[in-house]
């Protein structure tokens, strides 16, 4: 919203603060200024619209002038001179639903001369970014910019019948707007209609048919109040925001409609000499319930602001903003909210805290440490666990990435067979980014191929949420990429899994996904619980190298975390070790052979370590293990060790394994 400095000077007595200083004061006390620009002999202060969202009154200069007068302790000059409009109205107004249109006021004028506005009026409008059109339209815009009351002038000759209807549109009705766009209307839209149909979209735009033209001699001047939420809905559905709709959607003051007509009446007499009223004021309204005064205990106010403020100062500030104050008990005020602040803005005592606070200046409140009991805050073990996982991964050489939560259908199809498992976005930023990720893999895959252009090898990971319709599951996904053909990436990731959860194992999967290498894919298990997946990307997925991925469900991983360690007394007797080399098939599993050895070794087995393997001429493999055995109460004799070894060898042979001895 643009404010003309000269205009504000008309409305604030003896305003001599410079425009720049004024902009600063407004920023600190009222709303954020975005800068000051010169405009001819005027200065324009631009105020951020977002900071005016809750202040319908500040969408006109008079409202801002009231703030300025209060800030500087000057007198406010009301531009509206009360006027009398005696006699019967020459236009009838019927309102279908006062909830949608609390008030509709109108005047009819004849002997109108349509011509360009005088220079001063045009300059004012141009300064605040409104285009001068002709004297009649310009007056309506002037009133809008001055007292935030949107108005509309109809060419009375183009209206059918002597009655104006404020009603919802009927299905199939259309209107040609002043902007030459045509709008299809439906019963959710409020319109102004004459005997023939809609002539304006209520609170948004007038129709082309009844627009003021050079031949206009008689006008109906509308000054109405419309329901904020209804205007906002219609405006956003029609994708049409206007200077009027922006104001109405902030909830304007119904009291203002007649003030608008009074102001316009004075201006029209100046810019259209000879103009005459036809009949009196049409004013259809449902009396508004007057807002009950707000009880403001001053002690409570002091507690909220954290500083004592003298009662007299509170009273002075409220009065300067035209709030009424009555003392109902010592240090308890009853505060009457002016109509222009009562539509949405001020209704509870907390709202008054802001009025007092901003006017005394928040910089007058010294910071104070709160007196609260020392408490240990509730723990967040999940987040702590995620942090440990992050630290571990980074320490092991992995760099953290963040990927978007959105995926395209095309990418989603690569990683899942069922697109309906994805939540869909109704209004995606790019048409194809319309699904939420159910896995971190699409992002990691992209990271791999993007970075492969710059690096021969790299490691990266992400912690993020897989989003399913019924739950959000935190996942950890890490990838190792290398341009060479070595399968070390899988081993490295398996080690990372062991670092994150000691005791995990990997079990090769028979059934794999199309994006997985069919012979280099397995489940990551803790006991019998599947906590994730370890796989190499199918070679077709990665160009010019190999990439392996570890994908862990962090909730399961955390739940699987090992129980706290229990101490076992140190061994007092020496242990004995021997190696065994088992001849196994080409696809035999090291873990399976080891499990068989463990079972045969029995209770005396202290540890078993896989040493090495080598390929045999017949295509099989020799797998070597070191077994360490011992007894808790004595040193095993050479005979006893030999007996255990023979038992294992016999057992292995019985199980179909040959041994290299």
């Amino acid at each position: 919203m643009k404010f003309s400095y000269n205009w504000l000077r008309d409305l604030v007595d003896q305003l001599d603060t410079s425009p720049q200083e004024l902009a600063q004061l407004i920023t600190i006390k009222t709303a954020e200024s975005e800068g000051v620009e010169t405009h001819g002999r005027d200065h324009v202060i631009e105020i951020d619209n977002k900071s005016l969202t809750h202040r319908p009154d500040l969408w006109g200069h008079y409202g801002m002038a009231r703030e300025v007068a209060a800030i500087l302790g000057r007198k406010l000059v009301d531009p509206v001179k009360p006027a009398k409009f005696p006699g019967d109205a020459s236009v009838r107004v019927s309102i279908e639903d006062h909830a949608l249109c609390p008030r509709y006021s109108a005047l009819v004028f004849e002997n109108v001369t349509v011509q360009p506005s005088p220079e001063w009026l045009q300059q004012r409008l141009e300064a605040v970014g409104l285009n001068p059109i002709n004297n009649i339209v310009d007056v309506t815009n002037y009133v809008l910019a001055e007292i935030a009351q949107p108005m509309h002038a109809f060419d009375a000759a183009k209206l059918q019948g002597g009655e104006i209807f404020v009603r919802t549109a009927r299905a199939g009705e259309t209107i040609q707007g002043l902007n030459d766009e045509s709008y299809a209307l439906d019963p959710s839209h409020l319109v102004i209609a004459d005997g023939g149909g809609p002539v304006a979209i209520a609170g948004i735009i007038g129709g082309a048919v009844s627009a003021i033209s050079n031949s206009t001699t008689r006008i109906v001047l509308e000054s109405a109040n419309f329901n904020a939420s209804s205007v906002r809905k219609t405006s956003s559905r029609l994708k049409l925001r206007t200077d009027a709709s922006i104001r109405f959607e902030k909830a304007q003051d119904p009291v203002n409609t007649v003030r608008g007509l009074e102001r316009a009446f004075a201006l029209l007499q100046e810019v259209s000499p000879g103009i005459r009223l036809v009949g009196g004021l049409a004013d259809n309204y449902r009396p508004q319930p007057v807002q009950a005064p707000v009880v403001l205990p001053l002690d409570w106010l002091d507690r909220k602001l954290g500083r004592a403020i003298p009662a007299e100062e509170v009273r002075r500030i409220l009065a300067s903003l035209e709030f009424g104050v009555e003392v109902i008990e010592p240090r308890i005020f009853s505060v009457f909210v002016p109509s222009w602040r009562a539509t949405k803005d001020v209704s509870i005592k907390d709202d008054l805290v802001e009025e007092i606070g901003r006017m005394i200046g928040y910089d007058s409140i010294p910071p104070v440490a709160p007196l609260t009991p020392a408490r240990v805050p509730p723990a967040n073990p999940q987040r702590e666990f995620h942090n440990r996982v992050r630290d571990m991964a980074a320490a092991q050489g992995f760099t953290e990435v963040h990927n978007y939560s959105f995926v395209s259908e095309e990418t989603a199809r690569v990683f899942s067979s069922d697109l309906s498992a994805h939540i869909q976005v109704s209004n995606p930023i790019v048409a194809d980014q319309n699904l939420l990720r159910t896995s971190l893999l699409p992002g990691i895959w992209k990271n791999i191929n993007d970075n492969a252009r710059h690096f021969d090898q790299f490691r990266l990971f992400e912690i993020g949420r897989a989003i399913h319709p019924d739950r959000e599951v935190p996942h950890f996904a890490a990838a190792v990429y290398a341009k060479d053909d070595s399968p070390m990436a899988l081993s490295e990731l398996k080690r990372l899994a062991e670092c994150l959860l000691p005791g995990v194992s990997v079990r090769p999967s028979e059934s794999t996904q199309p994006y997985e290498h069919p012979r280099r894919t397995g489940d990551v298990l803790h006991g019998e619980t599947k906590v994730g997946r370890l796989f190499e990307f199918h070679p077709k997925m990665v160009e010019g190298g190999r990439a392996a991925v570890l994908d862990l469900d962090l909730t399961r991983l955390m739940e699987s975390h090992p129980a706290p360690a229990r101490y076992q007394s140190l061994r007092r007797f020496p242990e004995s070790a021997f190696d065994l080399s088992v001849l196994a098939g080409s696809r035999a599993l090291i873990a399976d052979v080891q499990a068989t050895l463990e079972k045969l070794a029995g209770d005396g087995l202290l540890s078993i370590d896989f040493l090495r393997e080598f390929a045999l001429a017949d295509g099989g493999r020799s797998l070597s293990y070191r077994l360490t055995i011992g007894a808790p109460d004595r040193t095993l004799s050479a005979e006893e060790v030999g007996a255990v070894r023979s038992r294992i060898i016999d057992g292995m042979r019985a199980a179909g394994y040959d041994l290299r001895l």
Binding site: T27, K29, E32, S51, T53, H54, R55, A228, R232, K233, R303, K304, L305, G306, I348, D350, D351, V353, E354, G357, R358, Y362, I365, P366, P367, V368, P370, R375, P377, P378, A379, N380, Q382, N387, R390, A394, A395, Q396, G397, T399, E400, V401, H402, N403, Y404, S405, Q424, S426, P428, I429, L436, N451, H454, F455, R459, L460, F461, I467, E472, E492
Partner: protein, 337 residues
Amino acid sequence: MDISELHASALAALDRASTLEELEAIRVEALGRKGKLAEISKTFGKLAPEERARAGKLLNTVKQDLETRLDARKDALASVVQNARLESEWIDLTAPASGVRPGSLHPITQVQRELEELFVSLGFAIMDGPEVETEYYNFDALNIPADHPARDAQDTFWLKDGRLLRTHTSPVQLRALEKFGPPLKMIAPGRVFRNEEVDASHEHTFYQLEGMMVDRDVSVAHLLYFMKTLLSAIFHRDVTVRLRPGFFPFVEPGFELDIQCLICGGKGCPVCKHSGWVELLPCGLVNPAVLRYGGVDPEQWGGFAFGLGLTRLAMMRYGIDDIRLFASGDLRFLNQF
């Protein structure tokens, strides 16, 4: 050869010896069981008793002297050998270390962790909430009813199932109040979404940190104290803050918090657009309507809340000029942190 001659010749041989083997040969020749000293001692029987005692004493002295010198010489030679070996074992310590270089945490993670630690030290709990939110938690319960113009400021990703992607971390205020009730000091860092066109300074996905304190008496003075303490810790220097009116439906009164520009110290520079102040975060006293939605009686309790842009803070901290880099997954960028 008498004892003195033997002594002299053995010492001369010792001086000449350059290997442990030569030393051993000298030892055997002079001190061995069949060595020269032993041979000489055999002749002592023929000597007169006092002569024998004198010769025996001399022999012992020479023997001890030779043994001591042999040991010393042996040690010297051994250390020469050892030194030669050590010398040959030189390693270039400037060679790169083996193994994998450490990775790094995402810059936003680093900033977030620093703040989390700071808040935990001030007694705040860290809370989480879902990224897919309901309209109730994201808007209604935060005092932003349908058709409230404030919804315009937060372009929302709506989901086909009627829910939405949270536009701020503020819904966690409600979830935390529901779960723990007052008194409560909490923060909620996390990912938020706005349906915005992406460019160097706008992202549809970014990170915020929500904070709230609810207690019996919470005032603007307390809010100022916390913000000043917190921001001084974040920026590692004493910062000057100011509050000015700002409108956010879930707080009343609502503020924009500015800090005095850290670049120019408030004198005015391009970073602060010559105003001396940089807008940093929205905050305010928790709106009583929000407390009521959270099941808290606003007559008994009050609170303050604030929202910190973690992404923006990371940009300030590291001087990052393109917000899109954060989600680029580009290791040329991420490896710098």
